[in-house]
Symmetry: D2
Subunit: 169 residues, 4 copies
């Protein structure tokens, strides 16, 4: 009985999110759910909330790992909340809690999660048309170590497919 | 759409666990699942594994939050694994991830989780016949602050009932 | 060039501290400084502040590891502040940052630090006349593992002497 | 009695470090010490070790915050060691423990520390000729928020001067 697959979706919080990014994140969350994987997010707003919303609408299971020590800060689409009490260093927890990561836009918090995932050699897919860190680092390595390539993808379906292929490889 | 109820079960790991404690923990896990709550544990052996086993057999959902940074260290009954990479300080994460705590026996690690739960004012039930920290602190406060009483109970059913009553109160 | 010796002093914060405990903690801090060791504390009030004050007056070096992510919460006698941003789980950081621990009174937070130190097998001395957790656990093991005995002592001098003997043994 | 100034120096560990980077980091550490500031580093090899060495030779005080839970992993020029037991998420601790950050080269771990410092709005100076993340992000903001500009500098002296000016401003 192996554990379920766990896919982390990261990207802009309310600050910097747009309706287009939210729609994209919603679709990513939906695809994660359809694949039978558990959706992990940082549990707050923007891309995190939209991805949870999409997974929820598709009947999936969602986990929100938030910086605060009180579950009430999580968005309303989190089935399970881990109120870490660790502040922003919960970014590392998110990365570790995942079998793979999908990036939708994103700023410095997203980049910090990408670094954590990269250092722990998690597969990472970046929606290259979503701007932000996803666009900036798509198809690149984060550094000279070449731990894992951040693979650029065009659609939510491709993103989930890439991660699943890597996990089961 | 509020999140699911999350109940943490803590107690001896392999070191110090007995067949009697495992059986008790199995029953506690089963009752947590029957109540429709998510079972949270530290994800390793002994009481943690037995509780996950019980919840699993009753069709429940189990989350293991482990000290290591690699999910493969979790017991085989964890549906979702959070490999915290935080070492033993993940005891605080367990406490924060719960709406209430049930104590089955236990040593110093269990006591550290009880302290974390107490400081964050989570309801705590202790199976008073299970020995260890559960027996030592049943029906007591941990300190002069009297944050929450560690309520002694006699059966797994009573333990879960106490936590649910407190959560929905 | 080995690192300096680092001694952690733990006990009541403002809530539960008394002038007698503060005086005792001040003397403990002073003795830590006289021994040439760095004083580590949780960096806040009560026993933590008094110990830093004592070490400071004796020309010692003090480090405060606080729960908040902003150094301004530390007491004014901390030379170096580590604003952990980890909330109360910084109790584990305190224990890990020490070569040995001295307990002055204390409630549930102090007990959590004692558990962390015990699990990591740090030498622990408890001022047995200081009440609280120090009195409750002096001359006892925290659990069946018997990792380290919490050694009861009568004076700040004895406390520091015990820790130094253990560190250099 | 305010706390001492604390300056974090980050950059390549043994993997990716060069004699040139080590020399530069040595000079940065020396300048930090000459300024009377405490040097904070991640406590391991490469740039971290060289900076500690430089500060040590100039009579400064050095603190190493390491991922492991055992002080023996720190380099020999750390006066004080905080063995965090937090794995790579100690990158956030480093950033929080600083009043300002100086970047010497660096890969993904360095970038993660830059993200943490940026999110917490710490002043950041990057030695623009040192390659790696320092060169890549010198004179840029990490994202659209424009929290703090990563200011490019040419010499260790300029780096320390920039941080001190910002801290005392």
């Amino acid at each position: 009985m192996p554990k379920k697959r766990q896919i982390l979706v990261i990207g802009n919080n309310e600050n910097g999110c747009t309706p287009e990014l939210e729609l994209l994140a919603y679709e990513v969350g939906k695809e994660v759910a359809i694949s039978g994987s558990v959706l992990i997010t940082g549990g707050l707003g923007g891309v995190m909330r939209a991805a949870c919303h999409g997974a929820h609408d598709a009947g999936g299971l969602t986990v929100g790992i938030i910086p605060q020590d009180d579950a009430s800060f999580a968005n309303e689409y989190c089935d399970i909340v881990i109120p870490s009490g660790l502040g922003l260093s919960r970014d590392f927890l998110n990365a570790l809690a995942s079998d793979g990561v999908i990036v939708v836009g994103g700023g410095s918090g997203t980049l910090s999660e990408m670094c954590a995932a990269y250092m722990h050699k998690k597969p990472i897919a970046a929606l290259r048309k979503s701007g932000g860190m996803a666009a900036k680092f798509a198809d690149q390595y984060l550094d000279h170590r070449q731990n894992v390539k951040i693979v650029g993808v065009d659609t939510p379906q491709d993103a989930v497919k890439y991660i699943l292929d890597k996990i089961t490889a």
